[in-house]
Amino acid sequence: MKHKVAVTVNGHKHEHEVEPRLLLVHYLRDVVGLTGTHIGCDTSQCGACTIHVDGKAVKSCTMFAVQADGRSLTTIEGMAKGDELHPIQQAFWDEHGLQCGYCTPGFIMAAAYLLEQNPNPTEDEIRKGLEGNLCRCTGYVNIVKAVQTAAKTMSGTTAGKTQVAAGGN
């Protein structure tokens, strides 16, 4: 039997009738049509599917769509403001924090949550904060660099912080 879900995704309201077993990640990709949230493992290891649910980083393959009913979601597509990249997106690009880029949306969403909790993390804190995300290409060195660079940019202005909190609406 289908259930109704009403969610806000990147500031836009969506309402759909979905099967209760539908995972949130499939809802976002196949129903809402936002394919920037990737699936790397189906078993909650890789973090490629990380999004924000009411401001918290969540692996969207660990939640059912119906559990998101009434919540506000931010996906990678909601991070940039028009043509202006979010500082974390900018830093991943500038610091070569990506190769194939499949893991990148998940890392950016996890990093955004990390920097919101801890705007000035040490390298160790960055590594601990991102241990739930796998990258097969980079060896992580430039991912750490990207988050450090983003932290610097974001502490220079308050804009970054507001953007994260507002979920890029």
Binding site: G36, G40, F92, C100, G139, V141
Partner: protein, 751 residues
């Protein structure tokens, strides 16, 4: 965008925005979803297939078996031995037997479960040695030896004062690209098919698909879809033929997307192997001979096994002067999952063995292991064990010197009161606060070939187009080369930008409308496709200069800089856009590197390889020997890249490649029991996380190879070769245990 600059990836903006379209994101109106019925047995005879129940399931449009394969039901990169859909036998667990297309992926999967196959289960051969036994069942008509390579170099009866022997074992590694296999096949009215696919080599897919589908190649068109990593996993066909067969039969687009579990059986793996070595040296530590037997398990089908065993044999002794060598390399068919290409390609397995042997020899001689290696270091002009004289820079001693001179990380970090558990073996499991933890340092160096070998025709094609757009010069580069993440799009743009002096360079999507680029493998694309882009750009440039001279009666010595035609002294002659007007200048060129030759069947002697690349690693590890836990504290590496076309991307390749080597050394192994994969998920197949992978210190040498474009050397694979063996050496140094097997297991450290 010039050669030698750290330019950002042109695809980076789309990738960080979540707008880059990966093959798994593809969608067509009215498309169906495909699913694969796979064998639950590693070896069985198919007695009957009953599709009726599956066909009757809701939403199902098509069910296909081997009977429906419209062309030749056999394919393979080197030997055509693998059915698209199994007909008489299944030879490995997870082999494709039938296909379903339905409206919804869940319907397709349920129908696949409903399909009935009647098997006569046979006893599988799951060990390569057992496959070689004279009475073993023949898995293929020509027997179970896929290829045997013999190298006989120098005095075959050489004797030495110091002799060390060892036996080593390597586990089966998975490439585990983060994006699982997927693609979309779209049938056309005229009976042709358009496939959007993430692959390492469009044209070899096209060639294989045409044969399998029974269509002429021009009726099978391929366009590259976004690739979520490759590392060898996308060399062979996975779902390509399946999606095309379903789409052609259904008359509707068909999408297939593997789950992570299916991905583990959907592509080949790194060959597991057993290696027996004997090294003889004089009392000064100079190598006299090396004898080795290398046995790789190729699994059920050949894939690229024949080339992998050639590499494993050719590079079996490491980058050392070896006057006499007796090497026997064998790759055998078994009923394990098929093995083929993975980053490092044969050189990874043997590096563990030759480097362990060098350490053993050093211990026997009471010599410093780095000193022993330097004493035997290969140099330019030396003869390899294949008889080839090695030319170009051969910086074995320099690389070793570099890593040995790098500062070591502070020892004993984290011990005492204020411990940071994540820095210790065991991590937050809180197994130690530093007591019982021993530190070890280990060194390793490896080498391998760049590009194809043994006479395989290696080339790439590039089309370069120069025209005016919005009043400015623009260059378009078109090749069929796969951007798998390594940064080839950036390199192509940099090369065209450099040769043509134009700032606006666009790299078009790869497809089969241009000639073959060869595969994004063997660390060859920057060299070969880079070479093709350079040659085509030069041809365009020559035409521009000729045009300028003819039209403006300009002097000789002109070149293009910053969108302008300028004189030898940099004085403006004419803006490029003005000169071009409506003219479009287009040139297509193939680039062929120097020729190679097949190994002699009896002696393995030949100029078999085109270029050689070297990397060295130093690893620092902490080991809790009581519990068998270990932590890699630091990796340091030195590599000669000839010329760094994009330094930032080169560093990224070295870091990522080192991480994959670390994975094989300490955690990554496909666990097989009687031919069945027991850990086909990221829950149980462990990949290095950001906490497992330490920071990397590196020294990138640019020594310039006189034979290659810009002097560059292939970069991608060497870091994956020596990082793991350095870790194994460090663990040996910390524990005094032999460590003859990777991945290293807790009981290798304790029992």
């Amino acid at each position: 965008m010039r050669v030698g600059e750290s330019v950002r990836r042109p695809d980076g903006a789309a990738k960080v925005r979540g707008r880059f379209e990966y093959s798994s994101d593809l969608h067509a109106p009215d498309m169906l979803w495909g699913a694969t019925v796979r064998s639950p047995h590693p070896y069985a005879r198919i007695k009957a297939i009953d599709i009726s129940a599956a066909r009757a399931m809701p939403g199902v449009h098509v069910v296909l078996t081997h009977k429906d394969v419209t062309g030749r039901n056999l394919y393979g990169l080197e030997i055509k031995d693998q059915p698209v859909l199994a007909h008489d036998f299944v030879r490995y667990w997870g082999e494709a037997v039938a296909l379903v297309a339905a409206d919804h992926p869940e319907q397709a999967r349920r129908a696949a479960q409903a399909l009935k196959v009647d098997y006569e289960v046979l006893k599988p051969i799951t060990d390569a040695e057992a496959a070689l036994a004279p009475d073993a069942a023949k898995l293929h008509p020509n027997g179970n030896i896929t290829r045997q390579v013999k190298i006989r170099h120098g005095d075959q009866s050489a004797r030495a004062d110091i002799v060390v022997t060892g036996e080593y074992e390597i586990g089966m590694q998975d490439q585990a690209p983060l994006g699982p296999e997927s693609g979309l096949a779209v049938p056309e009215q005229d009976g042709s098919v358009e496939l959007h696919i993430a692959t390492q080599w469009l044209h070899v897919d096209q060639e294989q698909l045409a044969a399998v589908l029974g269509l002429p190649p021009e009726k099978v068109r391929l366009t590259m879809a976004g690739i979520g990593g490759a590392f060898g996993a996308r060399e062979d066909l996975s779902m390509q033929a399946h999606a095309c067969l379903l789409a052609l039969e259904a008359g509707r687009p068909v999408k297939m997307s593997y789950s992570r579990t299916e991905s583990f059986v959907g592509h080949v793996h790194r060959h597991p192997g057993r290696l027996w070595y004997e090294h003889g040296a004089d009392r000064d530590g100079r190598l006299v001979y090396v004898k080795a037997r290398i046995l790789l398990d190729g699994g059920a089908y050949a894939s690229s096994s024949t080339a992998v065993i050639a590499n494993a044999s050719c590079f079996s002794c490491g980058p050392y002067r070896v006057p006499s060598a007796t090497i026997d390399g064998i790759v055998a068919y078994t009923n394990n999952p098929p093995c083929g290409a993975m980053r490092g390609f044969g050189s990874v397995q043997n590096c563990y063995a030759h480097e362990a042997q060098m350490d053993k020899l050093a211990a026997e001689l009471k010599m410093d292991p780095v000193e022993l290696r330097m004493r035997n270091a290969l140099q330019t002009g030396d003869k390899l064990i294949t008889g080839q004289t090695i030319d170009g820079p051969v910086p074995v001693a320099e690389l070793l010197k570099s890593i040995a001179a790098m500062p070591l990380p502070a020892s004993g970090e984290g011990k005492g009161g204020d411990v940071d558990l994540t820095k210790l073996p065991g991590g937050v499991s809180n197994t130690t606060h530093g007591e019982g933890v021993k530190r070890g340092v280990g060194y390793a160096i490896g080498f391998k070939n760049i590009g194809y070998s043994e006479g395989f025709k290696d080339y790439s094609t590039a089309k370069v187009r120069l025209f005016t757009k919005d009043g400015k010069a623009r260059v378009e580069v078109h090749t069929a080369a796969a951007e798998v993440g390594q940064g080839l799009v950036t390199v192509q743009a940099q090369i065209a930008g450099t040769e043509l002096g134009v700032n606006d360079v666009v790299v078009l999507d790869a497809d089969t409308n241009v000639g073959s680029a060869g595969s994004s493998s063997a660390s060859r694309q920057t060299y070969i496709t880079g070479g093709a882009v350079k040659t085509a750009s030069e041809a365009v440039r020559d035409r521009v200069i000729a045009m300028a001279r003819a039209e403006l009666r300009a002097p000789s010595g002109l070149h293009i800089e910053n969108d302008n035609v300028v004189t030898g002294t940099g004085k403006l002659v004419v803006p490029l856009a003005t000169l071009l007007g409506d003219e479009v200048i287009e040139e297509t060129r193939e680039f062929h590197p120097r020729q190679t030759f097949p190994l002699d069947a009896e002696t393995g002697q030949a100029d078999a390889h085109m270029q050689y690349a070297f990397a060295a690693h130093r690893a620092v590890v902490d080991v809790d020997a009581e519990l068998g836990l270990l932590k890699v504290v630091e990796l340091a590496t030195a590599q000669d890249v000839g010329k760094a076309i994009n330094p930032q991307a080169v560093e990224g390749q070295i870091e990522g490649g080192s991480a994959q080597g670390l994975g094989l050394a300490v955690m990554e192994e496909i666990q097989l029991k009687d031919g069945v994969i027991r850990n086909a998920s990221f829950t149980d197949y462990l990949l290095p996380t950001i906490l497992d992978m330490p920071p990397v210190r590196m020294d990138v040498l640019e020594l310039g190879d006189p034979n290659s474009p810009y002097g560059l050397k292939g970069v991608g694979e060497p870091p994956t070769i020596s990082s793991g063996p350095a870790i194994a050496a460090a663990v040996r140094a910390a524990t005094g245990r032999p460590i003859t097997r990777v991945p290293i297991r807790p009981h290798d450290l304790t029992l």
